[in-house]
């Protein structure tokens, strides 16, 4: 099966297409590198990847303005890069280094960079839905044309917080955008075991009266157009918005999980035909971008990964003497 090129969506210029390519490649190459490090025993704990979902993360991150804020989860690495979080900083978090975003206090994708408008991920799915609503509420209170965006997958859709947050967003009519990650699996549990109606967009429209489109999340251009529209509708005061991204989580839940529970052939089909990186590259070739140019984008992304890792590896380990610093912003004793 040949790779299906991304749709030629009108209104997305060449620079944006190339920016999306850089971001999906950064996530892909970073995650491939970090899995190797994990298997070499150079990364502790666990590793979560978003293979197959890079276009969703890249498009959502790129659709935001610099003053917007976002609560990514652990399959949205490209969203961090879109916000200007550096490759080195993400490696520092995986390596548990003193000068990383969590200073060795948390690992892998469990971090945020508040200075870049990125809230630190927590493991409890659903928690960041109401947090996002609260950030959007602050924008509305102050009359600021800013947007808060977060992600929620099928697992999060079984959690009460998600529903409380969506309901609150609707009642308060805040400028929040929810990207619904339909990647078919929550750990090993298929979507059909999470819920009866797996059409998240339909549920969000019908249940909370929040506009929600259902879009191919492996098509970077189609998803970018949809999420960009959603962000701008929210910004213009039309209340909360959602976009559902249809993808397949191509890796297991985490590095230890070989995803053997996915029916045979499905992952292979996605790798051949619906791989978001290949689909975007095919589209750019059809756009007339020279193969050498695409190779250069890939080489530059690979170089960014290599130098980021090299930087991170020179970072110091955290000092146990500092462990109790910063428990409180204003310690009382």
């Amino acid at each position: 099966m040949p790779t299906e090129p991304c749709a030629d969506v009108a209104g997305i210029d060449r620079d944006t297409r190339l920016a999306l390519l850089r971001l999906v490649l950064l996530q892909r190459l970073f995650e491939e590198r970090v899995l190797v490090l994990y298997r070499q025993g150079r990364i502790f704990g666990s590793v979560y990847t978003g293979r197959g979902q890079e276009a969703v993360a890249a498009a959502a991150g790129l659709a935001l303005d610099p003053d917007d804020v976002v609560c990514p989860l652990n399959r949205e690495l490209a969203c961090h890069f879109a916000r200007g979080v550096t490759v080195a900083d993400v490696f520092r978090n995986f390596l548990g280094r003193a000068d990383g975003p969590t200073r060795g206090r948390d690992g892998n994708m469990h971090f945020g960079v508040p200075a870049k408008g990125v809230f630190p991920l927590v493991s409890m799915l659903g928690d960041l839905v109401p947090v996002t609503v609260g950030a959007a509420l602050a924008f509305k209170r102050r009359g600021e044309r800013r947007v808060a965006l977060t992600f929620a997958g099928e697992g999060a859709f079984s959690v009460g917080d998600t529903h409380e947050g969506l309901n609150l967003a609707g009642v308060l009519q805040v400028p929040a955008v929810f990207v619904l990650q339909s990647n078919r699996y929550s750990y090993s549990t298929p979507a059909e075991r999470q819920m009866v109606n797996t059409n998240l967009a339909q549920r969000v429209r019908g249940g909370w009266s929040i506009p929600a489109d259902r879009v191919d999340g492996t098509d970077a251009l189609a998803f970018y157009a949809a999420v960009h529209d959603a962000v701008e509708r929210a910004r213009s005061g039309l209340g909360p918005q959602a976009v559902e991204a249809l993808t397949l989580r191509m890796d297991g839940h985490a590095a230890h999980d070989d995803a053997r529970y996915v029916p045979g052939g499905l992952r292979e089909e996605y790798a051949e035909r619906w791989d978001p990186v290949s689909r975007l590259e095919e589209r750019l070739l059809l756009d007339g971008v020279a193969p050498e140019h695409l190779a250069r984008v890939r080489d530059q992304a690979a170089a960014e990964i290599a130098s980021g890792l090299a930087d991170a590896e020179t970072s110091p380990a955290p000092d146990p003497a500092d462990l109790e610093d910063g428990v409180w912003a204003a310690p009382l004793r």
Partner: protein
């Protein structure tokens, strides 16, 4: 988690210049709203209705529905939203209708509010107010003292005002503070305690216990409803006993506890939370570890049994510490 009824107990006209504990809270909220545009209130039925106990009564008239924001019945949702607003630099003050309902937003409080600064250096200045405590025939879901669930949780601050002045001053200090602060108000004190109105702008410093009464023969360490009970018990007993009001129960003012025990050599911990929860374990552990040689008697604990708060008057009255039961405990300690 809305249930009506318990807030309806009437309040008599205030004595001249005196206000109730509840009025002190309302005054603190109004002053905080007036002083800082970033402050806003959110919770269930706090707008036109004025809150389950009337703490926000009338505030919507002065500050409007955007700053006195009624929410759906959704504690995890609106506490989570307060965290998000705090992230953006607002100063949200959340009201839970009963402290028992803190089970619902427990996750976002402990997972998100408590741990974010340590993980990322991002301060989350939010205040969560909630009426705790018994004596109103509230039963297992409307009379609890769940502060102990948060005592010991890194990243949170927990205050339990036991006086009218601290009801105002601790709340104002909590709103100023850059960390998440849980304010366990005592619903039994709302209309029972009266005192001269605190000076506008008064702050009770967080993290500092207050010597409510000086004495030489024993120390009662307490907080919340225990403060008035301890003071009354000391009066009844006629003994020369020190009463230390913790005010902030987490983190604990360890120096104040040890200083008092050093002076009196006898310790009674009095609390309304069931005996294996609350703050007692923290205080007793501290004194066992660092004050053992100061003691002339085993430290004592007066607290309810390890059950939920019972409903029937006969049961609840037996369950809660009273002035009489505290006098008994005190006399036993002094006789050792």
């Amino acid at each position: 988690m809305t249930e009506g009824g318990l807030g309806a107990a009437g309040a008599g006209p205030a004595a001249l210049g005196q206000i109730t504990y509840l009025e002190a809270i309302r005054m603190a909220l109004a002053d905080a709203l007036r002083d800082d545009e970033r402050v806003f209130l959110l919770g269930e039925d706090i707008g036109v209705f004025g809150g389950a106990f009337g703490a926000t009564k009338g505030l919507i008239d002065e500050f409007g529905p955007e700053r006195v924001l009624d929410t759906p019945l959704s504690e995890e949702g609106f506490v989570g939203a307060a965290i998000g607003a705090a992230w953006m630099g607002e100063r949200p003050i959340v009201e839970l209708q009963f402290a028992d309902f803190v089970t619902c937003p427990f996750d976002v409080i402990v997972t998100v509010a408590a741990k974010t600064h340590w993980r990322s250096g991002l301060a989350l200045p939010l205040v969560i107010r909630m009426p705790s405590g018994g004596g109103v025939r509230g039963g297992p879901f409307h009379a609890g003292s769940p502060e102990g669930w948060f005592v010991g949780q890194p990243g949170l601050k927990v205050v339990c005002p036991g006086t009218v002045g601290d009801a105002y001053g601790l709340l104002r200090a909590a709103v100023d503070d850059p960390d998440p602060v849980l304010v366990f108000e005592h619903k039994g004190l709302y209309r029972r305690l009266r005192a001269p109105s605190p000076a506008p702008g008064h702050r009770t410093p967080l993290g500092r216990a207050h010597l409510a009464r000086a004495g030489a023969d024993a120390t009662i360490v307490t907080y919340g409803s225990g403060v008035q009970i301890a003071l009354d018990a000391v009066d009844v007993s006629g003994a020369d006993v020190e009463v230390l009001d913790l005010r902030t129960v987490w983190p604990l003012d360890e120096a104040a506890v040890l200083e008092s025990v050093e002076k009196t050599s006898r310790l009674l911990v009095l609390q309304e939370a069931a005996r294996s929860t609350g703050v007692a374990g923290l205080v007793l552990s501290l004194v066992a570890r660092r004050g053992f040689e100061l003691l002339d008697a085993p430290p004592a604990l007066h607290a309810p049994p390890d059950t939920p708060v019972p409903f029937a008057p006969e049961l609840e009255d037996a369950y809660l510490p009273s002035v009489d039961s505290t006098v008994n405990e005190l006399e036993r300690l002094l006789a050792y």
